[in-house]
Structures are given as C-alpha cells and as structure tokens.
Symmetry: D2
Subunit: 382 residues, 4 copies
C-alpha cells in the first residue's frame, strides 16, 4: 500500500471509530491516564502538523496556534502544554472545529505527500500513521472507560463484540534452551524500543497456546483468589485493598450472576470467551494460583510464531527496559518511548482494539501494572 | 404574577442561559462542588417530577426511571444516586433527551397547575421555582468555572458584563444598639432556614454603603496581603499555602498588569468595579488589613434597607446555623437546608447571577469559607 | 493563692502528670493535632521564656536558642518554627534536657516574681499559668491517643478512672425568654475570647441536668444510628463514611460486648457512665435521633448555674466566633485565640482532664467538629 | 567461623549500633518505609523465635505472645500484624523489655545451637543471621532519616564518617560480548533471589572503575540538571516536581555553599567523596546528562571482579525480577523476597552501612526507584 493510501485509510479509520458517537461523548475525561475522543482526534492531527508540516511544507500556516498547547501530550520539547488531567474541561474548540482541523491537516499532508516527499517525510509520516493507530486503540478503550462508568451502561454499537472471542488452539508451544535473536531486524517501520536485534539466552520452557478464559478466571475468583495474599505481589495486594478490587474491570455481579459491560452494552459473562481487562497484578496472581507463571517478553517473541495471537494484549513478566544500544532520539520524537522505561510491564501481541497490521512479534506495548482498562489478558507459561 | 406564569418564566429563563452554549459545554464537571449544565437542566426538572408530579398528578408516568438516579442531587431520601463527582461522565442521556425531559415535565406541570391545584401543589411548585432559580445561578457560575479553566478563555457571551458594575453609594449606615427582629415573617414564599422571626440584640455599629472595589483589593495585594499571616485566620492561611492562592479566582497577571476572566472573555481588571470571586478567608483577611471587620448576618439584615445590594453575594462573619425553633421538614424536602448547617458561612444579598426577585433581606445563602467561584464580595463594618 | 504559689503548683502539676511515663512515652506524635508529652513540657516553658523572661528579666540568657524553633507552636510572630506534624521526630533534646529547661525557667521566673514584679509581668504570668493548664489537658488527651493506638492497650495508671463517673442529677433547667448578659465581666483572669459582656436575647428553652450516658448512646448505635443519614449533618455523614466511624473513639467491640480503652487499660463499657470521646457530628446526630438538639453556648452559660458540670466538655451548637467588640491583641499574644475563629464549634464546661479551677461558666473551648480525642460529651436541650 | 560465633557476633553488632542512642532515639518512625531502632531490635529477635525456636526447641515458651503481633513485619503467613505505618506509636514494650527479649532469644538460641542442631536449624539460623545483618543496615539508615529530619542536626557519633570515602581507582572495566554465567552457584548461604546459576548473553560494554563523586554530581546540579526534563524518566520528573526535589537527600544549601547531614553532624560537602543518597531517578538522569547509562545487574556481576566495591549501593538499570526457575518457598520464609519482584530496581554491591561479609557479587538488593535514604550511588557504564 502506498503511504498516501495508508495515511488516508488511517485517518478515516479514526473517524470511523467516532461514527456512533454523539457530541457529548467526545468530551469527558474521567481519569488522568485516559483522554477524551476529541483530544485523540486533535492530538493525532497535531502530531502531523508539529513533526512534519511545520518543518517540511513550505509556506505552511498553522491551523490555530492555540491547538499546539491544547493537544500536545507529553512532548515537553514542544513548549508548554495543558495539564494531562485537564483535558475534560476543553469544551472549545468544539468537535466540529476539531474535524475542520483534521480536514486541514489531511489536505496539507496530501499536498506534501503528493509532491515527491523526501525519505525523512515518508519516515515521519509512517511514524505519524503508527502513532495514530495507537491512539485509535486508546480512543476506544478510553471511551469504554467513560461509558462504562455511566450507570445506565450505554451502547456504543450493538454489533460491537470485542470481548466474546474464544480460543481456537490448545496445548503448549515448547522452547528449547539456547540463544535466540530478539528485536526488530530490517528496514520496515518499527518503534525505537523494539529496535536493535540482539541475542538472548533462554532456558527451556512451555507457553500455552490458549489464553485464560473467563471460566478459568471465575474459578480463581470462586476459590478466594482475591482474598488470599499468598498469590499476590506485595504492591498488588496493597492495590487490591486500597481500591476494593474484586474482579476484572467492567465485571458486575447481579445476584448470583456476573455480567460485564461491553461496547454493545451489559452482557452476561461468556465463560468460553478469553478473559480481558485484568491488571498485571491480577495476571500474576492468577498464574501463581495455577502454579505456573507469565512468560518473559523474549520467550513470548520466540514462541509466538507457533500460536495465534492478537485478541488480547498479553502481560509478560518483563519490565519495560531498553534493549542493548538503545538511544533516545534527539528532540520531540525522542520522547516517544524511552522516558517511559520505568515502573511499567511489557505486553506483547495486540488486541481486538488494535488496528489491523499495526502490531508484529517484536512489538512492545507497556503499562503500569495496576491498569485494567486495555483489552489485556493472560497466557500462561511454565 | 400567577404561579403558572412564574413557572413558565423560570423554566424559560434556565434555557435562556444555555442559549449561547454548544453541546460540548453541557458536559464537563471539573470539581466536585460544580455540576454540568446538563445536570442542572435535568435536576431541576427531576425536582418537579419527584416532589410533585409523581405524588399529585393522577396517572402520571415517569419520563425515564433512570433519570431519578442520575439527576437526584443530595436527596438521600429518594433512593440511591450517582456519586456527586461522577456527573461529568454522563454523556447519555444526551442534551436533546434532557430538553425532551424538560418539555415533558413542563407539559405535565401545566396540566396539573391548570387544573385547580391544591394549596400543597402550589406551595411545592413555588419551592420548585425557587429551587430552579438557585440552580440558574449555579449553572452560570459552574459554567464559568469550566470555561475559565480553558487556557484559551472562551467567550460565553460578548455582551455579558457581570463583573464590571461600580458602587453608586458611599458613606456608612449606622445601627443603634438595641433589640431587632430577624428572620422572615408572613405568608409569602421563603426558605425554612430564614423562617421564624426572632429577636436579636445588636450593639451599635456601622456598615459601609459601598462594597470593596478591585482597586482597594489590589492595594491589599500590593501591600503584601497574601504574604502576611497576621491578617489571616489560621485555616485560611493553610488554604492559601496549600493551594498557592495569590489573588481572587479568575485573576491572571500578564507582565505587570492584572486581567480577569469574565463570561465575555479575558479583560483588564476594572479598578472601579466591585470586587468578586473572593473566598470568606480573603474577605476576612482584607477586613483585618483595613482594621475593620465583616458584619454579622443580623447587622446586615437590619442595615440593608439603607443601602443598595444585589450585585455580589456578601460574606458575613456569621456561621450558618439554625434559627430558634428551626425544625427539619419530614422527607426529601427536609434535606434542602438543615443538613448543611455546619462549617459554612452565611452570605447575604444576591449577585448579578441571581434571578430577579429571587432574594430578599432575610435570605440566607451559605458556602464553605474557601470557595471563590460565586460572585462573592466584601462589605466592611466597624 | 499568690501568683508564685500558683505558678509553682501548675508547673509541678504538669510534671506530676508525667510521673507514670517511661522515656519512650514522651516521644511519639501520631496525628498532626496531637503533640508528644516532651513537646508540651518544653512548649509551656518556652511560653514563659519568650513572653516574659526575655522581655522583663534583666540580663536573662536564653537557655538554648534552638528551643524557640523546636517548641514554638503556632506563634508565627516569633520567627520560624518546626512544622506541626514533625514534632515526633525530635529525639534530641532528650527528655532530661527538657526537664533541665523547665528547672531553668522555674528558677528565673521565681527570681522575677520574687522581685516585685510589675502588673504586666503578673498578667502575663497568669496567662502563662492558664496556658500551661490547657496543655496539661492536651498532654493527657494526646498521650491517651498514642497509648490507645497501641494494640496491647498499655496502662498509664491503674487508678486513673477518668471515664467512669455517672450523673448525679436528672430533670431539666428552664430558661425564660428574655435578654441575658453573656461573657466575662470583671478584673479576674479570663481569655480574650470570653471578654466583653454583652446582651443576648434567648428564647425559652430547657437544658437537661444530666448528660448522655453510654447506655443511651448504645441505644442510638443499636438503633442503626451510624447507618442512617437522616440524623447526620452532611459533612458529618461524609466524615463517617470516609473514616469508617462506627462508635465513639476508643470503643472496641469484642464478640458481642463493647469495651473502651481508658488510661487504666481496656475495660468493659460502663453503661451508667457519662459518654465521652464523641465528635460534634456524633453529638448532633444523637440529638437529632432523640428529636432534641444541642444548646447554644449562650443558653449553656445561663443555665449552667443550675446544674453541675466539669466532667466532660460539652459540645454546643454554636460556632466559635468573636464577641462584639473583640479585637486581636498586638503581637504573639494576639495569636492565642482570634485566628481560630472559623470552622470550629464551641464546647462549654470542663472535663475530668481539666486542671482544677481552670474553667468557669464563661469559658469557651473550641475544636473542629470531627475531633473525638477530648473527653467530650453531650447535654441535650429542647 | 562457627555458626554460634557468627550468631553471637551478629547479635552483638546490632546492639553495638545502638550504643550511642538515648532511649528517645529508639522510638520514632517518620515514614512508612523506615522503622524505629526498637522495632529492628525486636523484629530480628522475633524472626529467630518464630522461624526456629517455636518449631525446633522442645518446650520453648514464647517470651510474650503480643510481640509476634507487634514485631512481625510483612509476614502475612504468621497471623495478623501491626500496620507498617504505626510502628512509631509503640512506646510499650519499653526499650529495656526489648533488650530482655533479645537476651531471652539469645539464651534459647544458644541452648539450641549448642545441642547438635539439625541441618535445618543451622540453615534457618544462617538465614536469621543474614536477616539481622540486613536490619543492621536498615537500623542505621532509618535512624539517619529520623535524626536528619531534626533541624538541630544531632550527632550520632562524632567519629562516624560514612560518607567521606573517595575513589581509589579510575579507568574502565571492559566486558567482551558473549555468554556469561549469572547467579549464585554452590552450597554456601545465599538468598533465594540470587539462586539458580543461568546463562545471560551480554553485549560488549565498559563499566567505570570509579563511582560518581559529589563534585561530578554538583556539576550536574549547576548545569540545571534538576530543571531539565530531558534527562529524566517521566515518572522521575513527576516525582521531582511533586516533592520539590533539588538535590540528593540530606543536602542543604546555606548561602552559596552545600552541606550534608551525616551521622557525625552537618558537614560541608566533600567534593572528592563518593556521592550517596540519590534515588534511581537521579542516578538515571545523571547518567543521561553524561551521555552514558547505568549498567545492568548482569554486567555489574561480571565486571565487579575487576573493580573495588562496597562503599555504596549501586543502582543498576535492571528491574527486580525472578531468575529462571525461581520458586517462592512454602510458608513464611517464602515471603522473604519473591513478592517484592515488581516496581523495584536492583542495586548491586554493598554500602558503608552493610555488615562485613554480608554481600557478594551475586547479591541483589532492591528498592523502589524514588527512595534516597540508603547509601546509594552511581557507577556509569557505556
């Protein structure tokens, strides 16, 4: 696919996700780590404007100087920015202004891309596309967080069935002890954090081809999993107690039955479906209860060619750290990944909310271990 | 004015306040004590539904059972309700649904009022009207709080000039020592907290006919008022330090000049205008710096016939406490006032955001002493 | 009694309270609002040094310049001071150094008092004595708070029986409607907050001669008093929920029985004993459950000549506010009372922990409404 | 050395550390993660009682059943325990009781060890000795934290010179790319977290033989290191801002000069001395400013045979995670290490506060990345 096509598809896909929304849905931010749809729409456009158009399109005139302030995220290099927790107060510019902004950026990007862009522009555009794909996923999961806190459980899309897929495989993948190459190799697009192919020595191990299901997790819950400190990491146990966590996110007990909030509304838990919306702490505790463990990100990368993946982000027991030789790029682009390499755990794979083709076996996602709002699940190893 | 006319005018006035809003503006809640416009629109309607229609209109069918849960406020008597801090997450029902709700309530209320309503219905309707007037004021001040936190300082209405009025009087009102009657007397509408005329003995004192202006308050600031503990109540000094308070709310220094955010946008401070958006702590510190004091609510009530008032809510040095013989009414209506009689200070008068005719000399408003978001000002006494 | 005698008795009484302590007991501070015994011993001495000796004893040499910093309290006028919450970290100076400090202050105060002191010195010495008496009470109640948080419930003094006294009277005192004189009149020692006799008009009312007992309060608890919002002020209900309050302070349920921690150790609740260690919120809720109310501080002052008092501090429904004509004194002495006149409720009477002769009918004590650590109780009015 | 000798030496060493203390110093706890000396003295004794004496000494009678509750730490397996933050309120048992407890434990342990102890008893005794050595270090660093918060900067021991040692080496150690054996091998004592020798593939790198000095760190500070986000991990930057961190712990600027609090009192910073009391965030930012990095724990383990270490705990860029095959032991002993394997970074080496012979090249210490209160320093790699 040409980069122009890819650019257009991605931009349209983001707006497609917003098709079922009313204006009201674009506005709220209910926790610091999640952002309003409006912000995602604008921020992904700002990225193209700031990183590409202002530098590479001759005579480009900024759409609105205030947008850089409002829709910058954590890019300290690019001047002052709105406190992350205040994104929900920004009623102006309105949703329609943000769509005009997107249109304006699209037109100028196309002008640039249609006019023999340099390799650097192509590289940055590809980065911008991948950046926007990441925000598509966040847009959906952040939106679910807002809607899921509404006690009337609003439907985003009746046919949106992101949590009910089942395993199609069983058994284990075996890894032999030995040296393996880890990390991305080659010229295709990849993020800096997966770059630098290097050798890692692995001990023999087995990874389950199937992921943990709701039924299996319910068995853990019914066996008192949330009441027994011995399965939990110490920080996890404190998190549990302080936040009264008793189930994965979005699970609600009504009488004797469990339901979950989905983007199609409240539904009875599907026992065969693959578990999602668990934190690393829960994943780790479940594995401990099973007398098994989570794989490392390296084991996962090697084994993943022998099982299907892509429905859930899979927590690994690897901390998010730099690969050998990792260097933070100069300037704002360098803020993309490196500065988050502390206190976060790596997830591998992709989820039902991930854009098609966005992930790959070397892809490294990462979140703080207490977060549940992604479609995150559990694959066991031993 | 007939009660029907009054009802219609009040309902229309609320919607009139929302005329300049875009849908986005109806949604955010940025602090616990302020609510989204959408919530005010719905809540004031719910009040008529819950307190009147469900009880007194034969065959009345609730508009939507879920609204009671979402748009109840602090009325614990009427079942479970949404946590106060979560009002900003309620994107559904949409704004248009809330307007349909208002319409539905209006039609049924008019049906009831047009059909020889009982005295009890008339009394409760008058209460509902006054309740809605209170929410008109909150709607405007809560909205200002949201807009005022947007770094692009959006304009609500170019012609909305609520902070720039000046004093029209000077000099002092004298009160002679003696016994005075305080509280509302007679059959007209009034709240339970002002009811029960009773005698209060006052010492001789003087109240300023003019309120403190921005220029006077600037003199306090320039004299180091915010840096000098001796002017401040102890709790006020801690509030100052913990929240880095250095000026009234909405004031911003740019270079050597002070500006304030108004509903017509950011403007240079008008020195002659009456000060607003100060907390009780600031009012008290200013008075102390002036070697004067705030009046009590009783002094204010007696003196107020001799000065003009109604532009700013005026902090008094009276704590909000029951009058002799005060009894909390049975049921939900009883939750209106009595349970807030702790940790709050009384304000007297009315402000530029108050509905015409809503207040009177015996009217008691009350807020926690650190709050600045009302059009609150200072009248000195000695 | 001569002032010298009074001074000596007071200083000795403070040390007498510490007689049962081990060195360890002098050190901890477990909440911001309570201080270690060592700090009380030193602070009361510092008061004499700072307010009297440094100004009036010719050639006086400060004991140790660092003590002013460490043992100042809220006297901002007298230079920088230790953060209130850090008092528990001060292991040096040691307890024995603090006793040496006391001895040094005593000797110099006696030198001053024996040498024809001026009226000003006498006045300030009397203030210092009363100040130290207040700290005697705090020393005991702060100590109880520390010991009471030790799960082995240590005994301070086997014979210390401060919570088990019963009512000796029943029936009600009647107050007739009319004008009354309130506040301290005359030349004897009194605090500035009770000064300025003035007229207050009271409506007719009745105050119970007996205070609420543990048995009566248990009836409230067993009737679901802590689970029923309608008895509670709104701020009180939030306080309850956030802090999981289910009983007065120091009460512990073991099986089906209630015990309380006393300075003589853990004991079964004595049903006939007068209730103590309730917050204003609890006092107010109990009164509401009884369909009665708390008296105002003015009613209490008038009625108190007709009942016995002095076992419990009695919460009134009066906010702590200045009397007419109240002026804050110049300098550090002026910080004594005035700056606390916000967010606190008045208690009248005295408690079993109060020094003999310290209180009087016009005496005004005051605390924030959520605090339970004083020997505070309930007298009902109607 | 026989185990009896080792046991006796260790027990005496702990008490030796307390020799300069007054009783007051044994009591305070000023942050959750630090404990009072008294608690360390008792807890290390409780470990022997709970893990050994109660199980292996026939007829052993517990010293005092309440001590298990008070002086347990995080051993959830052994019943309820005191909240970690409440250790500073425990004035009883007194210091002398804790010494009696130590004496009692010593006598019974010696009786057990003198009577042909089983291998299991010897193993657990060795664990208890190493556990107590760890608490010796904590006792000293926790004590420094308390004393260091006293504005009069008390001296623990005039001759205690733990922060002033300099580097004795310069230049770099080279590591060749290749496979290396990591982890403890053999029968000697070691902790479970370093057990399981396994292969790790390392890329070529260099580790500095010298550690970062105060002078080098001052250059970072003077170059605006604490004001420039680009050197900092994102979580580190937030930590900095929220806590107003502007220097290593215990550093105080007076005029134009920097001083640090040491256990010998306040001293001018010694520029040649090795830096200590930095958090991982500071170590990482400093390395970034130097355009270098921290080593991994594996690089450190291999390189450490070629440089001297043992003056500072050295932050590595490795997260604290299990080695291949790590299993948590059954029961309370299993709570020692495994449950902390999240959100912490590994430190290697030892510090001036570590007991002689306690550490070794495979030893893994670990703390949360914001903590500064250990003698932690920086060794750079590239």
């Amino acid at each position: 696919m040409t980069i122009i096509k890819k650019f257009q598809q991605t931009r349209q896909a983001t707006e497609g996700l917003c098709a079922p929304l009313s204006i009201e849905d674009y506005v709220p931010q209910i926790v610091d780590y999640a952002s309003p749809p409006k912000w995602h729409l604008a921020h992904t456009s700002w990225f193209f404007e700031e990183m590409i158009l202002k530098k590479f399109l001759p005579g480009y005139r900024e759409f609105d100087a205030r947008f850089g302030f409002l829709f910058n995220s954590y890019y300290n290099h690019v001047g002052e920015r709105l406190a992350r927790s205040a994104r929900g107060a920004i009623t102006k510019p309105q949703v329609e202004d943000v769509y005009k902004y997107r249109q304006y950026i699209n037109e100028h990007m196309l002008a640039l891309l249609n006019n023999s862009p340099t390799a650097e522009v192509e590289t940055l555009t590809t980065l911008g596309i991948n950046h926007e794909q990441q925000h598509q996923e966040l847009l959906l999961t952040d939106l679910k967080l807002t809607l899921g806190h509404n006690p009337i459980y609003p439907v985003y899309d009746e046919s949106c069935n992101l949590v009910n897929d089942s395993n199609t495989e069983s058994d284990f993948v075996e890894i032999q002890e030995g040296l393996y190459d880890i990390g991305f190799e080659g010229g295709d697009f990849h993020f800096d954090n997966e770059s630098g192919s290097h050798k890692v020595y692995l001990n023999a191990c087995q990874l389950s081809k199937a992921m943990v299901t709701n039924a299996e997790y319910l068995a853990f819950m019914e066996d008192g999993g949330y009441d027994n400190f011995q399965y939990w990491l110490d920080d996890g146990w404190h998190w549990l107690k302080e936040n009264n966590i008793e189930s994965p996110l979005y699970w609600h007990r009504q009488g004797n039955e469990w339901f979950y909030y989905t983007l199609a509304g409240l539904q009875p838990i599907n026992p065969q479906a693959i578990l999602s919306h668990v934190s690393f702490y829960e994943a780790s505790a479940f594995a401990s209860w099973k007398n098994m463990r989570l794989s490392t990100e390296f084991e996962w990368e090697i084994a993943s060619k022998d099982f299907s993946w892509g429905k859930r982000w899979e927590w690994t027991n690897s901390a998010y750290l730099p690969y050998p030789g990792f260097k933070i790029s100069k300037g704002a682009v360098g803020e993309y990944n490196g500065k988050f390499m502390i206190n976060q755990m790596v997830l591998r794979g992709a989820s039902v909310a991930t854009a098609q083709g966005h992930s790959r076996p070397t892809y490294r996602n990462f979140f703080h271990p207490h977060l549940q709002w992604q479609y995150s699940g559990i694959r066991l190893a031993q």
